[in-house]
């Protein structure tokens, strides 16, 4: 379990000519989670996108799963990303979208896995409805279903509880805990300190693109609060 999943050394990235990340360094071992907090516009989403290879980086070194990732940003199938958008076609149903992702990730036994994951996020009744008819929170649950389906080792979760009702937050918190228990890793952003404490082994605060504060959390991943 002591494998390092992702390691950044002095990572930096500009967007539209402005430095958004400047020399960010950290490393994350399997089975652990890092919660990134920080003000709006601090660069949390950008950091996750760089880690996921969606964006490239301009300075520093990024190691993923023990090998250096190239600076142009190459995605990796072992990474599961959940961002501000759902990454799914609004005109297709949830089941169809998941089928597509299942094929792309070469999941065996897709139909059955889809059945499992939509049940997990409590969308079984809605799986044959086009996503454009989903409410905001249902769309977020759908994004979680996609994440579960592809069975990645490293999760990059950008405000994964946005728009979820208390029930949904509880379900997904449980899913994250299971993932960590199975030896996966996660980098999570959130704006709620209570969520950070509940689910993070470490917390870091990003301030204008720099990792300013850093704290090991009590990290017992205490039982879920009620509602």
């Amino acid at each position: 379990m002591d494998r390092v999943l992702v390691e950044a050394r002095g990572l930096s990235r500009n967007l539209a000519g402005r430095p958004v990340l400047s020399s960010v360094s950290f490393s994350l071992r399997a089975g652990r989670s890092l919660v990134v907090m920080g003000a709006n516009g601090a660069g949390k989403s950008t950091l996750l996108q760089v880690l996921g290879g969606i964006l490239g980086y301009q300075g520093g070194v990024l190691m993923r799963f023990g090998t250096p990732a190239c600076a142009e940003g190459i995605p990796d199938g072992r990474i599961g990303y959940l961002g501000h958008k759902s990454l799914m076609y609004p005109n297709l149903t949830l089941a169809e979208n998941l089928q597509l992702y299942g094929r792309l990730w070469r999941i065996v036994n897709v139909a059955q896995r889809i059945d499992t994951v939509v049940r997990r996020v409590d969308l079984a009744w809605w799986q044959h409805e086009p996503l454009k008819r989903y409410s905001q929170g249902m769309r977020q649950r759908a994004a979680w279903a996609r994440l579960l389906l592809i069975d990645a080792q490293l999760w990059l979760l950008d405000e994964p509880w946005a728009g979820l009702d208390p029930d949904g937050r509880q379900i997904t918190a449980g899913l994250l805990r299971d993932h960590l228990a199975r030896g996966g890793g996660a980098v999570v952003t959130t704006h709620r300190w209570e969520d950070a404490q509940r689910l993070g082994h470490m917390a870091a605060v990003l301030e204008s693109g720099r990792l300013a504060h850093w704290r090991e959390l009590a990290g017992t991943l205490a039982a879920e609060e009620q509602g």
């Binding site: 958008k85 759902s86 609004p90 992702y101």
Partner: protein, 219 residues
């Protein structure tokens, strides 16, 4: 390969659901025939070259519209990010788009050609192997140029489709070569120089994305 196929099937399924792209391209090609038929009929018989010109103009526009729409599907909800993150990298995403675009361009081309040949009844316009070849090559040209430029314009985090505007000047050579080749084939002239030009152009724009694809979507 499997990724290309999966994405290809995905686009076909989206088309089956919405039928927008096919309908758009066909409606375009048909309406063009209609307007031109009406415009030019009163002034007497049409020449082979004119029919070829009308035909290729129609493909050019229909193809451009279709490709813009094909990429327009990918703007909502950042779906392109999801596709690019799948194992296999980004190249198959480009290739699949190109394949879809080619199928649609070729389908439009063949339907429109048959209809126009029937409707305009220009003496000497017959569908030969060479004409079919020209159509397929032209469709390939439209598809590859269109994919390269539209793909370029579709960056992953911004969601804009600006470059399609630029596609047109790049497509004009395809249209001209295709038109001349078709006209020559119908007239019984020498289509080969034009066909070779078409092939060369296609080849360049097929290889270019393969060389550049990593830069295509880096942000």
């Amino acid at each position: 390969m499997q990724k290309i196929w999966t994405l290809f099937v995905k686009d076909m399924r989206l088309e089956a659901r919405q039928k927008d792209m096919g309908f758009l391209m066909l409606a375009f090609a048909m309406m063009e025939t209609l307007v031109f038929g009406f415009a030019l009929d009163s002034g007497g018989r049409m020449q082979t070259d004119e029919v070829a010109g009308i035909l290729w103009m129609g493909f050019l526009f229909a193809g451009m519209l279709g490709i813009v729409r094909l990429f327009g599907r990918e703007t909502a909800e950042d779906v392109m990010v999801g596709m690019a993150m799948a194992p296999g990298g980004r190249l198959p995403v480009v290739m699949a788009k190109m394949a879809v675009a080619w199928v649609f361009c070729a389908a439009t081309a063949s339907i429109a050609t048959s209809v126009d040949v029937a409707v305009f009844q220009v003496p000497g316009t017959r569908v030969s192997v060479i004409v079919v070849l020209v159509m397929l090559l032209g469709a390939l040209g439209l598809a590859s140029v269109g994919t390269l430029l539209s793909g370029l314009s579709l960056n992953l985090s911004g969601h804009e489709v600006l470059l399609p505007v630029l596609t047109m000047p790049f497509l004009v050579p395809v249209a001209i070569a295709g038109m001349e080749a078709t006209g020559a084939a119908w007239r019984g002239g020498r289509p080969w120089p034009w066909i070779h030009a078409l092939m060369a152009y296609d080849l360049i724009f097929m290889v270019l994305p393969l060389l550049l694809y990593e830069f295509l979507w880096e942000v």
